[in-house]
Amino acid sequence: MTQPTNIDYLTILPLIILIAWSCVLLLVDLFIPKTRKWITALLAAGGLAVTLIFTALQIGKSSVGFNNMVVLDGFSIFANVLLLLSGLFGIALAHGYVKRMGIQRGEYFILIIFSVTGMMLMAQAADLIIVFLALELLSIPLYVLAAFTRKVESEESGVKYFLLGAFATGFVVYGTALIFGSTGTTSLTAIATAASNGTSGLLLSIGAALLLVGFGFKVAAVPFHMWTPDVYQGAPTSVTAFMSSGAKIAGFVALLRVFATAFPSISSDMTNILWVMSALTMIVGNFVAISQTNIKRMLAYSSIAHAGYILMAFVPYGNKAVVATSITAGLFYLLTYVLTNFGAWAVVISLEKAEGKGLEISDYSGLAKKYPALAAAMAIFMLSFIGFPPTLGMVGKFYLFRAAIEGGFSGLAILGVVTSLVSAYYYLRVVVNMYFREGDPEIERETWLTITTGLTAVATVLLSFVPQLLFLLANTAVLK
């Protein structure tokens, strides 16, 4: 056994900063009076911002640490930046919301940092032990956050999320056990070596399938999506915004890394399963969303549908020629999704009143007349979700479909286009309500909420004009 060296610590430096800061904050929070919990929010956001700087300093570096347990590479840095941004957006959205809903407690922000740490560890994991630990570190704070309001709906959402999340963990652990049984190791690279030597393929395939089931729950892919609408609807909206982005990114980057690194040898089995999963997720998510009247439930089904689009990037993962483009497309789409998703949830939070009022799609009637800027922002997010130009969503979908076609899965790409058309129906219904119906909506004005809405709306439009730049950025992040 070797002692950890500086390289080991530098590999996970942002994580060390974040976890140390959150432990300190737990203590500091005790001394902050109940009426001034915004200080905790500020300190938490500061910690995330500092970590973001340190992550930015890591750009271009790559190393492995702790006996190949964690890895630092372009892929992990790209994901970490996205995750830290989600954490910052999550705190910005929560800042005013928790006050308004009377749940202003310091733990909220600290739990978000803990969860972000878990997500970042997930992106850096190079061993199934770390994948498991990171999965739990990101999930357990989210279970608590989902039940944070202490109302029946919120608690119900917390219990449902907890039971199904723990159920999924069971699958991940058992899958890891089977993979360990067939290869004698939990290190991703060692699994790939052992698997290519042809040891016990069946056990490995079953293990990989169980892992897929577990992660399928986490990223809300059909047929493991049933919890999503209930949890997203019942949880406080600021928590929903955070978990629908952060947990999804973390789940997908872990899946990408595990499959692309460890399981290329069983891609012939896995590709078919992933194809079916991706297709089902797109179809079910988009079609069920049509019948929703509650905006939170509609966005929950929309997040399921988007999981299907991102899964599309996985399908050709065993094909050496296209795996790079398809992973790039997947990462690019995650970026698109994060910006659009946070923006849309920020608008939802602006309209939400106490006691769950203001959450029906009909409550958006007349928004354009009274608050044109907010309505325009919401329209941009809805168009970006559909994939309508000139928004980032269009570029993201274009890259995804192109990658699918290059990988020889034209059928899946066509299905993606068709389901996107279907999705226009329910996204545009929001726009129609805002612009063509009469109504008298009231909104909450909060500085950070406005900033988040504005920033994401502008980014969604402007970045779509320089997609090549972002694509190259994502391309440097591809797993070699």
Binding site: I129, F132, L133, E136, I140, Y143, V144, A147, R150, K151, V152, E153, E155, E156, S157, G158, V159, K160, F162, L163, A166, F167, T169, G170, F171, V173, Y174, T176, A177, L178, F180, G181, G184, T185, T186, P229, D230, Q233, G234, Q292, T293, N294, R297
Partner: protein, 106 residues
């Protein structure tokens, strides 16, 4: 000596019982126990596979057992949060039947 296969078969049976329990039972506490059963089935498989690997290579090998420690520790953390959530919802609803947790639908 009992062959390793037997342990693995037992762990598969335990895992299936756990998974079925989650799907069939309606009390969150029992569901939670079933989840623990699934985790412990995985632990058994880890130890069994670790031992078989040790016999094959003839060298001491701790990979499986170390994972088991992590699983036990994390499961304990999950119990803390999970039971707190279940107690909290019991305080609000005076009832913990899963079928009656239906205030969210659509």
């Amino acid at each position: 000596m009992i062959p390793v296969d037997y342990y693995v078969a037992l762990s598969a049976v335990l895992f299936s019982i756990g998974a079925l329990g989650v799907l069939i039972r309606r009390n969150p506490l029992i569901i939670f126990m079933s989840i623990e059963l699934m985790l412990n089935a995985a632990n058994l498989a880890f130890v069994a596979f670790g031992r078989s690997h040790e016999i094959q290579t003839g060298e001491p090998f701790f990979g499986g057992q170390i994972f088991v420690f992590f699983v036990i520790a994390v499961a304990a953390a999950e119990v803390a949060v999970g039971l707190a959530l279940i107690v909290e919802i019991f305080k609000t609803k005076k009832n913990i039947n899963i079928d009656e947790l239906n205030s969210l639908k659509g």
